[in-house]
Point group: C2
Chain length 226, copies 2
DNA sequence: TTAGTTGATGGTACCGCGTACCATTCCTGC
DNA sequence: GCAGGAATGGTACGCGGTACCATCAACTAA
C-alpha cells in the first residue's frame, strides 16, 4: 500500500537508527526501537542489515567492491594511478555522505564496539591494497614487506585526511589527499617499474645530515643498486 | 579446598577455552562449556574475562601498558630506539607464548569476529605509536601526517614479521624485525632531529627517473626546505 | 571461641542480539 | 479468479553479558 519505492524501507530504517543513536546513544537503543520508529517489524530490520551495527556502515560492501573494481582495471604502468584513484574513490564516498558520515564519526568515537567495527572495515581496504601492491611489485621475498608498508601508508594517508575532514579541519579534502598520497609515493621511490631511459641526476643541497647518513636514502629514492 | 594457587582458575579457564575452540570451533563452544570443563561456574568466567573472546587475548592490556611504559622512558634523542625496542617487546611477548600464539592465529584466521578483535587490538598499538611519534616530531602541521605514516609502517613491519613467524616461515624473527624496522626508519629519514652542523652533499647517480621526479624525495630525505 | 568482615564463588533472573521457522499479505502472470 | 513467489510480521529459541543475591572459606578483633 505504501506508495514509496521498495528500497525506502531500508532508508527509513537507517534514518530511524541514526536518529535514535543521536537521541539516546547506541547501547540504549534496541533493534526493536529502530524497527518501531521505522514502522516495520524486527525481522525486517535483520533482513536489511546483518546486525545492529551494520546499519551504521550501510554500503561498506559496495565500497569494497568498488575498490576491487578500480584496482582490477590497471596495468603495471598505471598501478600507482589506480591506487591513488581508489583512495580518492573511498574518500569521495565519505564526503558524499556528508552529515551522515560525521554522525558515524561521532558514534565511532564514543562507542568502542563501533570503533572496532570501523577499524575492521579499514583493515579490509588495507588488505586489498596490500595484495594489489604485492602483485604489482612481483613475488620477490623482499617486496612482501615493502608492499605491506606501502599499503599501510596508503591507508594511513587516507585516514589522516578523512579524519581531518570529519573534524572540519579542512575544506578541500580531495586536494589534501592528493598531497598526502604524493608523500606516500615519495616514500616508496620507483618500485620495480619498467626502466624507461637512464638519466643522470646531480643534486647539490645543504643539509644538516652527513652524506654518509643520507646516501642510503637517496639510493633508494632513485632506485639504484649499489 | 583446592590446594592450587588462586590464579590457577584463570589458567584452567584459558586451557579449557583453547581446548574446546580447537575441538569444536569458536562459535560452537559456549561459555558454559568452557566453565564446565574448567570446573567453575559461568559467573567465574566473566569475572576473569570481560567477554568470550577476551579469553583469546588474555594479557592484551598488560602488553599495552608495557608499550606505554617503554615509550615513556625516552628522550628526544632516543625516540627511535624506544620505538624499536617497544616493537621488539611486543614481538617477544608473542614468541614467548609459543604454541598458544599459533593457536590464536589459527582461530583469528578462521573466525571473523576474532580477526576483527585482533585488528582492533593492533590499532591500539598503532595509536600509541602515533601519539608518541607525533609528540616526538613536534606540533607542526605537516608532521601529523608523517607521524601517522610512520606509526602505520612500524606496526605493519611488526605484523609482517609476526605473521611470518606464526606461519613458521622464519626461525629468527627477532633478527627479521630488526631488519624490518631498519627499513621503516630508512623510509623516514632523519625527522626534525636537532640540527648538528651543516654540510653539503653532492650525489651523482644513474637513475631511470628524471631529476624532476626525484627531487622532492631527496629534498625530504635531507630535510631541506626549498 | 565467637562474631564480624572480606573475598571468591555459584546460582538465578533478566535484557538484548541474532537466527529459524511459520503464517499472512500483496503482487504478478496465467 | 487462481497459483506462485516475494516481502513482511510474529513467535520462539540460543547465547552472550549484566545484575543481584546467597553461600562459604579465611582472616581479624574482641
Amino acid at each position: 500500500m505504501t506508495a514509496v519505492p521498495k528500497s525506502s524501507v531500508r532508508e527509513r530504517l537507517m534514518d530511524a537508527a541514526f536518529e535514535l543513536f543521536g537521541e539516546r546513544g547506541y547501547e540504549l537503543t534496541t533493534v526493536d526501537d529502530i524497527a518501531d520508529r521505522a514502522g516495520v517489524g524486527r525481522t525486517t530490520f535483520f533482513r536489511n542489515f546483518r546486525s545492529k551495527d551494520d546499519v551504521i556502515f550501510p554500503d561498506h560492501d559496495h565500497l569494497i567492491e568498488a575498490i576491487k573494481g578500480r584496482l582490477a582495471t590497471s596495468t603495471n604502468s598505471t598501478a600507482i594511478v589506480a591506487v591513488s584513484e581508489a583512495v580518492r574513490l573511498v574518500l569521495l564516498r565519505y564526503i558524499e555522505e556528508g552529515e551522515r558520515a560525521r554522525m558515524r564519526y561521532a558514534l565511532t568515537s564514543r562507542v568502542a564496539a563501533l570503533r572496532d567495527r570501523e577499524i575492521a572495515g579499514v583493515a579490509q581496504y588495507q588488505r586489498l591494497f596490500r595484495e594489489f601492491i604485492a602483485n604489482w611489485m612481483g613475488p620477490s621475498q623482499d617486496t612482501a614487506l615493502r608492499a605491506e608498508l606501502m599499503a599501510a601508508s596508503v591507508v594511513a594517508a587516507h585516514n589522516h585526511v578523512l579524519r581531518r575532514w570529519l573534524r572540519g579541519d579542512t575544506v578541500d579534502p580531495m586536494a589534501e589527499v592528493d598531497g598526502a598520497m604524493a608523500q606516500v609515493i615519495a616514500l616508496f621511490p620507483s618500485v620495480p617499474a619498467e626502466p624507461t631511459e637512464t638519466s643522470t641526476a646531480i643534486i647539490v643541497l645543504h643539509t644538516s645530515q652527513s652524506p654518509h647518513e643520507l646516501l642510503p636514502a637517496i639510493r633508494r629514492a632513485i632506485g639504484s643498486t649499489p
